[in-house]
């Protein structure tokens, strides 16, 4: 099976090709330049592997959470490539991809969600794969989700954005902290391969980002009632 994977949910842009277990990949610190870098990166990986899009079995993308615009770039490009080459799509959680990237059995993944919040989840690996001990959520770093025991590895950009708060929050629950770890496309590809085999992929029109922060504005009614944004979010702002 041959898969293309990519992610643009953070300041990094990464892409990977999975070829029956063999992986080639690339990643650059893109800042805001994902739209310029992603497709050339994909093309050069395909050229390196001597493959065309038509020879792939599917495309996996980092579906979020992460930068709203970033996850849409990945999703939109994936939709376009898949529509044009008649391929199925599969979105993979960026937080799960970080757990996979961490090369550990128990992982706390935290991405910066801006507006003084983080996207976070707690993961444990069992024989069937990664189990979310707490589902992906958006919350202030001071109330980040806790593992039930110690011995976890903390990963992701939020550990660089909120080092003190998260250090205090996790105290001695973490054996290691890796702020530089990203939801790399090679991990997305590894997670996606068995799911493609299990028939979990969807047609391009059914592929969607998963933002986690879902309340992004107040309705007129909510404003007049003085509601604060509720649900699983605390933000009132418009961007991330």
């Amino acid at each position: 099976m041959h898969l293309l994977a990519f992610d643009t949910s953070t300041e990094w842009c990464s892409a990977a090709l999975w070829m029956d277990g063999r992986v080639i990949d690339a990643a650059v610190h893109a800042g805001q330049a994902h739209s310029r870098l992603l497709l050339p990166m994909v093309s050069s990986l395909l050229a390196e592997a001597g493959l065309t899009l038509g020879e792939l079995d599917g495309i996996a993308f980092g579906r979020g959470p992460g930068s709203f615009t970033g996850v849409r770039i990945a999703c939109g490009v994936a939709q376009g490539l898949a529509l044009g080459a008649s391929l199925p799509l599969l979105g993979v959680s960026t937080l799960e991809a970080m757990a996979e990237e961490a090369d550990a059995e128990q992982v706390v993944t935290c991405l910066d969600a801006r507006m003084n919040e983080i996207y976070a989840a707690v993961w444990r690996r069992d024989p069937s794969g990664w189990q979310a001990e707490t589902e992906a959520m958006v919350c202030p770093p001071a109330v980040a989700p806790l593992p039930t025991a110690s011995g976890y590895v903390g990963c992701g950009g939020a550990f660089a954005a909120y080092p003190e708060i998260l250090a205090r929050r996790y105290a001695d629950l973490l054996t290691d902290i890796r702020p530089g770890l990203i939801p790399h496309a090679r991990s997305i590809a590894r997670l996606a391969a068995p799911r493609f085999r299990a028939g979990m992929a969807v047609p391009p029109e059914a592929a969607e980002p998963v933002y986690v922060r879902d309340k992004v504005a107040l309705t007129i009614r909510e404003r007049t009632m003085g509601t604060r944004p509720g649900g699983n979010t605390h933000g009132t702002g418009m961007s991330a």
Binding site: S35, A78, G80, L81, Y211, I220, S239
Partner: protein, 338 residues
Amino acid sequence: MLVLGIETSCDETGIALYDTERGLLAHALHSQVAMHAEYGGVVPELASRDHIRRAPRLIGKALADAGLEIGAVGAIAYTQGPGLAGALLAGASLAAGLGVALKVPVLGVHHLEGHLLSPLLAAPRPEFPFVALLVSGGHTQLMRVDGVGLYELLGETLDDAAGEAFDKTAQLLGLGYPGGPQVARAAETGDAYRYKLPRPMLNSGDLEFSFSGLKTAVLNLAKKEGPGATADIAASFQAAVVDVLAGKCLAALTRTGMDRLVVAGGVGANRALRARLDAEAGRHGFTVFYPPLDLCTDNGAMIAYAGALRLTAGAPSDGGFSVRPRWELAELEAVPVS
């Protein structure tokens, strides 16, 4: 050449297929108006989310309507700007991905150029050169158009756009969003002569517009007269806007010595405006052209069409993709068009 047009600059997802030999083959549209109405205006993040959700399905619908497969697409035109950055990026990403997969050129199109050239999609089509009145939710401009990319701004609004004035008036009168069609409907049963509203800058001697004072006048009037007067206020307001727009169009035609007027943008759908301009055309001996009614507001067809004109004139493909949320028409390059 079959061009796929993708428009996602604001709150409408527009997809169209334009063939340079056979004309417009299909166009599909999803309006987010109902979604944003709850929020009292366009929420940019929600707009972007909706575009990415709808666009692939709309492409499927347009292809089905035209009885074509995606492989038949020979080029892609997407709205590169101006507009909401996140919304533009949703369409640009999709366009760029499709372009790579289909190995076809991808071209970013200026949204206002799309509007400006949309009357050329109707029959009879205007020849260059002409004077264009662009009246939408975000713009009110008079332009001299000598060809594709040859745009000279003759005058524009100093404050609110005409469509914006309609929208705000609707809000003041409690008529809902978007306001243009609502005000127009209310005006049908109203007396346009009951209230004498100002005709801002009608006799200013230049081709500039101003609509914010009119809005204030409506506000004061609505407060004074109460809800019973809604239809008459709407009619009086519409008459004032139509007077100003028509007056400035005549002035622009006189100033440029041209005898062709092209009207584009959402307010161009307004019947009272069309009736007035048609009457003036008869009286003063010029011809007025409009886009097809369903192509006045944002749509994919105008983007496919503008893209097709530029691509057949040899415009190079963009390669990667980028958006330009702020982008002046005057920055466009001219292209020869046969």
